[in-house]
Amino acid sequence: MALPNNHGYFGNFGGSFIPETLYSCLEELKKAYARAKKDKSFKTNLDYYLKEYAARPTRLYFAKHLSAYLGLKVYLKREDLLHTGAHKINNSLGQALLAKYMGKKRIIAETGAGQHGVSAATVARLFGLSCDVYMGEEDMARQRMNVFRMKILGAKVIPVLSGSKTLKDACSEAIREWVTSVRDTYYLIGSTFGPHPYPMIVRDFQSVIGKEARAQIIQKEKKLPDFLVACVGGGSNAMGLFYNFFKDEKVKFIGVEAGGLSRNLNSASISYGDIGVLHGAKTYVLQDKFGQVKGTHSIAAGLDYPGVGPEHSFYNDSKRGRYVTVKDSEALEGFKMLSELEGIIPALESAHAIYYLKKLAKKNKGALVILCLSGRGDKDLEIVQSYLDAEKRG
């Protein structure tokens, strides 16, 4: 049976836990998306922009040096080469076309690392929509370049001062604005989370990653990979890679969560969280025993979120996927490893997945792996510099 079911559930996870005000716009969205899915011209249009504007298909690159170093056979799915520098554009193009299809003139978005904000601002320019991006004040400070990019692109970046001032709070604030201007505003959510139908819509738009990768690996290796590895924040690049391999039972899925600094301060919702309800979905949530959502931390702003897409929670509980953690310091090592061995500077989010290959290699010598290189590292250079400086000072 295709998931989610009619109520938006992936097994025990998902659903639609929203203030009543949002009910009719989610119904409207469900209907519009069902129509768009059947509409050939919608698909033709999206394919055109994915190809000509975003530069799809992305390459599946055999990482020769990394492979030799680790004793694995690693292919990189090069989402980092897309326009705006990360996989986020796949989803933003899809949803912006959907917003237009629905006759909306304004989009709002939340952003953590700023990658989704930038991709939303970009498609807003492209399609003539107005765009407000909610971003935690702390993230604005650590991702200054992306804030500037959004502004150049004509988006309004609205600082969020509540809570931990990161992605979670940006998301809450975007929902508040959405509840307020529900009649004319489209909420362009940035990952596979939120109430039904968002986790499904974002997954579908990102699934182009795995669809291409599957055909490419068969062409190059004449077989399916042993492992798929991707970092998991909200879960969109990982789900995008995994989804088209779902029925290939021998292909193992590994989602890498941000282990942050410690067992107590991280963003690893599946690994360290409990089932709860956050931002419209039932899923694994980092929370205390009274159901208050905990503060999170990751060196990668794009992973710094206390929830996770409900479909990943389902993959975890049904054992279709395995979810692991990689700490800040390890992600930095992954960052350096790929830069030095392959001449490719990864986003810190993706660097979590890269480091995990080192652990994977220990027991799986020679395994064939596809890693989703979800984004490039340009946005992270300042952060990496400050960590390296701190390391040097001891």
């Binding site: 639609s16 836990f17 929203i18 203030p19 009543e20 009910y23 529900v182 409990d274 309800v277 959502v293």
Partner: protein
């Protein structure tokens, strides 16, 4: 007295309900006790006690800030229950709990309802639990004798409103605006009146109006076409501005009385 009896009494006396919202634990757990008793003395008909949640997506800045203070003071589902139990002999105003779903889910829905009932609460409003997700919740609420209030908004389609009416008990909460809680909203009383009149044709349940209501004049107008007005952010702001002043509780009583039309 429970909510049903309260509305029967009001009807008999030809009055409308004045409902006050305050978050538990703001400005502190100890002061919440005094505030609840002061609201009772000021003649509030029903108290909505907010269970603070870390991510209040339907609340504006005033209640967000109060919630953050309450959480910092250690408010949680456990000490709400113990506080209410301690107050039970003196607090006679019907008490409804207003919350987000996650704290209930973590406490365990059945356990939460049974303990809240024992502590004296008689109704529950869960902001992010629409009827579609509420089957088990409603079943358990009924079992433990808790009324389940649900929300209707200016953008709720007619068919949907019918379903909500069928799922609700205690009263219906009509959200006056599309938006979050807070002050300075532009309320459209004519369309509010029209919408509520339509709903009244379909149900005997009392319909109360909340969000953005904080002046005596607004309450007067809302009372004309509904069964009650809910004041939240206005009272919370008053508490925030005045709780460290001398005679705070008397001031609060005076303020609440001043909001209540004769």
């Amino acid at each position: 007295m429970n909510i049903k009896q309260k509305f029967q009494q009001l009807k008999k006396e030809g009055r409308k309900a004045f409902i006050a919202y305050v978050p538990f634990g703001f400005p502190s757990i100890a002061k919440t006790k005094d505030i609840l008793l002061a609201l009772q003395e000021a003649g509030v008909d029903i108290i909505e006690l907010g269970i603070p949640f870390s991510d209040p997506i339907a609340d504006g800045p005033i209640i967000q800030a109060a919630t953050a203070v309450a959480l910092a003071k250690g408010a949680n589902t456990k000490n709400i229950i113990s506080t209410l139990k301690a107050l039970k002999p003196s607090l006679k105003v019907p008490l409804a709990l207003m919350t987000y779903y996650n704290p209930i889910l973590q406490a365990g829905v059945a356990k939460f309802f049974s303990q809240m009932r024992q502590a004296g609460a008689c109704a529950i409003l869960t902001v992010d639990l629409p009827i579609d997700e509420a089957h088990e919740y409603r079943r358990l609420a009924k079992k433990y004798g808790i009324e389940t209030v649900f929300f209707i908004t200016p953008v709720t389609p007619k068919e949907r409103a019918k379903k909500i009416i069928r799922s609700a008990s205690g009263f219906l909460y009509y959200i006056s605006v599309t938006g979050t809680t807070g002050l300075g909203k532009t309320l459209s009383f004519t369309s509010l009146a029209r919408h509520i009149k339509q709903l009244k044709l379909q149900t005997e349940l009392p319909i109360c109006v909340g969000f953005g209501i904080h002046t005596r004049k607004q309450i007067e107008r809302v009372w004309n076409f509904s069964d009650g007005a809910i004041v939240g952010s206005g009272i919370v702001k008053f508490i925030a501005d005045n709780h460290s002043k001398r005679n705070f509780l008397n001031r609060l009583k005076k303020y609440v009385k001043s909001l209540k039309p004769d």
